[in-house]
């Protein structure tokens, strides 16, 4: 995902100043993706260049010290709708854990079961820490809850994969 679509989604809700977009985006996404303000202004410049947003006429005169308020254009609305309609693509397998385990299996000097075991401990601790956070989040705080659900289920998938690694390595008699 690019910041571009995130900002377009914010501007589709209402016309706002650039500085307000950062906090609004972070609030909507439960702090999962902190932005820096430079990133926001650079992206706004590109969105304007591509005709997806435009400065709200009048806002510059009234509130010159705060810069433009920005609004989404018809082209920007179409781009945003298309983004929501398009499924997110799958990344190729290149995460460090998968690669590390594959390399450990191939390395006769490395105890691959130990690599798996250490990682499983770390993954389980991450799951416990995320679950602890879940206990503190109210059931009505939907964005925070969904973000934690997402992180927990990813960690769970990792834990399941590590369990499977363990079973397969044992079945093949690998160290």
């Amino acid at each position: 995902m690019s910041v571009r679509h995130g900002l377009l989604a914010m501007l589709a809700e209402e016309t706002v100043h650039g500085y307000a977009l950062k906090s609004r985006f972070e609030e909507r996404t439960a702090g999962a993706w902190p932005l820096n303000i430079g990133q926001v202004y650079t992206t706004l410049g590109r969105l304007e260049r591509d005709g997806l947003i435009e400065a709200d006429p009048g806002s510059e005169v009234e509130e010159a010290h705060r810069g433009h308020r920005w609004r989404i254009t018809g082209v920007g609305q179409n781009e945003l709708r298309e983004w929501y309609r398009s499924p997110v693509g799958d990344d190729p397998v290149r995460d460090e854990l998968t690669i590390k385990v594959l390399l450990a299996i191939a390395d006769p000097g490395t105890d691959s079961s130990e690599v798996v075991h250490r990682q499983r401990q770390a993954t389980m601790q991450r799951l416990q820490s995320l679950t602890l956070k879940k206990m503190e989040v109210g059931l009505d705080e939907v964005a925070e809850m969904l973000l934690l659900d997402s992180l927990i289920l990813r960690a769970d998938a990792e834990a399941r994969w590590l369990n499977l690694c363990d079973e397969r390595l044992r079945a093949r008699g690998l160290p």
Binding site: M124, L127, A155
Partner: protein, 241 residues
């Protein structure tokens, strides 16, 4: 946190409530002897929430049956609140299960002919408590699992999640301080399963000891300590003991 009275015993928080010393459990299958568990040494503190994980046949349910005095070890000792279970008569073991240990299973095991509150009150009535006292305690337990308004419904009129909440209330009603849960979310959807985990965690926060058997990492993560069993042996643990 003050000391807690458990039956006739007084337990300081954090003191070992369940102890396994060199416990092994063999089963005879025809001419073959299979070791289902152990040798296992384990201490579970009062007020601790422990999850047991592992593949099928790893010994999780065997361990839980030993904790709950439903089974006896082939070798070694199981101590509950300092008492060696091997020294107790069958009647004493039955009394211990009624008064000190609550069980929650995947299947809710509620009696269909009794209402929800009657199911919860039943263990107290079986233990000789006056009906009025049993009902009062059952009503409190139903309240604490958010099921007060369902008290007079029969199990068939409750959803799976609601039945499991009643089963949890039944498991901790009265003076019991240990909850043993064997895959309690196995028959529930994810969101309802999480409600059950929150209830078990809440019981732990109130000072009860919870031992959960699960194959689900997301549920084990509600525990203070996660133990991994494989071929009857502990192979790893996470969390703070």
């Amino acid at each position: 946190m003050s000391e807690r009275v458990v039956g006739e015993w007084t337990l300081a928080p954090g003191s070992p409530q369940l102890v396994l010393q060199g416990v092994t459990r063999f089963y005879e299958t025809g001419a073959e002897t299979v070791r289902a568990l152990g040798p296992l040494d384990l201490r579970i503190a009062a007020g601790e929430f422990v999850a047991l994980m592992g593949p099928s046949g790893s010994g999780k349910s065997t361990a839980l049956a030993l904790f709950g005095a439903l089974d006896t070890p082939s070798e070694g000792r199981v101590l509950l609140n300092g008492r060696d279970l091997a020294g107790l008569s069958l009647d004493a073991l039955a009394a211990l299960r009624r008064r000190e240990i609550g069980f929650v299973f995947q299947e809710f095991n509620l009696l269909p002919g009794l209402t929800a509150i009657e199911n919860v009150a039943l263990p107290l009535e079986l233990d000789g408590q006056p009906l009025r006292d049993a009902r009062l305690q059952a009503a409190e337990a139903m309240e604490s699992v958010g099921m007060a308004t369902f008290a007079d419904r029969f199990p068939e009129d409750l959803s799976g999640g609601e039945q499991q909440r009643v089963a949890i209330a039944r498991a901790f009603v009265g003076p019991r301080t240990i909850l043993l849960a064997d895959e309690p979310t196995g028959a529930l959807d994810s969101v309802t399963g999480e409600v059950v985990m929150r209830l078990l965690r809440a019981q732990c926060e109130k000072g009860r000891t919870v031992v959960l058997v699960t194959h689900d990492s997301t549920h084990a993560a509600w525990a203070d300590r996660v133990l991994h069993l494989r071929d009857g042996q502990l192979v790893g643990l996470e969390g703070t003991p």
